[in-house]
């Protein structure tokens, strides 16, 4: 990797810069708040690197343009927010069935419906449980700082190519709009294996190739579906990302992702200052979910508190991971207003009192 000069950027711009530095030279998208800085940055800077920005007529067209570009093996990205992501779900399902790589950003907004543009985590289910039709998953990464938005964008391209699986960066208005110093860097990008046997490039000197998700012959569809599942299992075995703080001696563990985790960190610091033995688990990959971290909590932990900016979505994965071995409490806000560290601290203190 090569370190580059420090910059001061909005979260959305950090993603766009990271994508370009990761070798993503094709972007297809459609405007929607609160992620418009991504297409705007791409429109300005992609031509400088010989790349191409195209504003599509809809999110449906964007994701399908991405599908067509991804089939050629280049790094390609799109971005949107809640309602636009809903429109893209058809394409996500086809990209999963076609086993193509690609990166999509969801700077989600509160909903359902047109909703509002403020921060929320209401798209958790849609992101990690498939969303579109069929039995498939996306890789879902949840950054919580500007620097992490940058770093995980690069990681998203790498994982996406490694598994030929669409990777989603899941953020919200807080992360997209906050301006922070970023240390950019350029990863080593392999020229790409020329023998990638699925690339669609025109059948020069070889047999024609086919990118498809339709399998009608007896047994073919089941075989294809099992192969996809095997890929998801490999992901879960090798590429789970999670951050833990102070869990070694904790009596209570708080868990949160994305901007909520950032707020929770302040509350945890305050609690530790006051002598409370509390820790934090921050899932970075929401799919694959860090199940083992919850399953193998230290014996000192007797309770878990899940905090989310929704009415209880990740809490289901936490409960499944813990499998009734510990009680799991939930504190949630449905989006539209961001909880303060004090509010989280109060809820933490209340749960802690029940533990002690």
């Amino acid at each position: 990797m090569t370190a580059l000069k420090k910059v001061f950027l909005k979260g959305n711009e950090a993603i766009a810069l990271a994508a370009i530095n990761a070798g993503c030279h094709y972007y297809f998208g459609y405007p929607i708040t609160p992620q418009n800085e991504i297409p705007e940055y791409m429109a300005k800077h992609l031509p400088e690197v010989g790349g191409e920005f195209l504003q599509a007529e809809s999110e449906i067209a964007s994701i399908n343009m991405m599908l067509g570009a991804a089939a050629t093996g280049v790094r390609v990205m799109t971005s949107s927010s809640g309602p636009g992501i809903s429109l893209m779900q058809e394409g996500f399902s086809y990209i999963a069935g076609n086993e193509l790589p690609g990166v999509v950003v969801n700077m989600s907004r509160q909903g359902p419906g047109l909703g509002g543009i403020n921060a929320t985590q209401g798209d958790y289910f849609q992101a990690v449980k498939g969303g579109g039709h069929g039995d498939y998953h996306l890789i879902v990464l949840a950054p919580h700082t500007g620097q992490e938005l940058y770093d995980l964008t690069i990681k998203a391209f790498e994982l996406s190519e490694k598994y030929r699986c669409l990777t989603m960066l899941l953020g919200d208005a807080v992360l997209g709009q906050i301006k922070e110093p970023i240390n950019p860097w350029k990863p080593e990008i392999s020229a790409g294996d020329p023998d990638r046997e699925w690339l669609i490039t025109g059948a020069k000197g070889r047999q024609p190739r086919l990118i498809k998700s339709l399998f009608l012959a007896d047994g073919e569809m089941e075989k294809h579906n099992w192969r996809l599942q095997e890929k998801y299992q490999q992901l879960a075995a090798n590429d789970v990302m999670v951050e833990t703080c102070f869990i070694e001696d904790a009596h209570l563990v708080l868990t949160a992702f994305g901007s909520m985790a950032r707020i929770a960190k302040t509350a945890i610091d305050q609690a530790r200052e006051e002598g409370m033995k509390v820790g934090l688990i921050r899932p970075i990959s929401l799919y694959p979910f860090p199940t083992a971290t919850f399953k193998n909590l230290p014996e000192s932990v007797s309770r878990v508190l899940t905090c989310e900016m929704n009415t209880g979505q990740m809490v289901e994965d936490v409960r499944l991971s813990i499998d009734n071995s510990l009680p799991v409490d939930f504190y949630g806000r449905p989006g539209g207003s961001v909880p303060t560290p004090e509010e989280i601290f109060d809820r933490l203190q209340q749960a802690y009192a029940e533990v002690e």
Partner: protein, 250 residues
Amino acid sequence: MKQVVKRPTSLTDKPFHFCPGCHHGIVHRLVAEALDFFNLREKTIGVASVGCSVFLYDYFAVDVIEAPHGRASAVATGTKRVLKDQIVFTYQGDGDLAAIGTAEIIHAANRGENITVIFVNNSIYGMTGGQMAPTTMLGQSSTTTPYGRDYHRDGYPIKMTEMLAALEGPSLVARVAVDKPANVKKARKIIRQAFQMQVEDKGFSFVEVLSACPTNWGMTPQKATKRVSDEMIPYFPLGVLKQKDVVDVL
């Protein structure tokens, strides 16, 4: 004996699965002949749509990407933007292009994407079993218009070629039919021209092909072919509606 006609090399050896009297086989052949003419087989990417045409990947000896229903021209846009030196074409039916994919085709055309679109209009949904298409004729019965298409309820058969010809973006917009040998010859010429536009970087080319679906029309192949001549052509007139020799912007 001198061989005057052979199977185009852009087609595989696999026999077509299409119903007896279906015109897809003719249109496939005309497209393959155009690819052969410009020696494009090894530099062409086909985008298959949803419907009877999805199986073109079995018949064309080129790289193929399968697109979601109606989205073929958006998929082709993405592919062509990366592979500017390759030839990218879509092959879409009327349900695909004129119903669910209307937005995608209009905007690809309006952008003047340097792709070729073959639009097979048989005025019905074939693969799903004969439901009404946007191009179904007034009075035509289908499984979802059992009493005939009524414009009060269903609107009029949509004229995609006329709609696209009204846009500034496209370079070639034409309608042909494959109901009789003379029309097949004209169709061959125009389909070849459509690929030539792309070869010469002249932008978006679109050919609507009027064709028959004897199975879902409930007709013999002969009667179905005659219906194309007698009923479809008068409403969907043949000809080149728009052709640019020089493209303004690419």
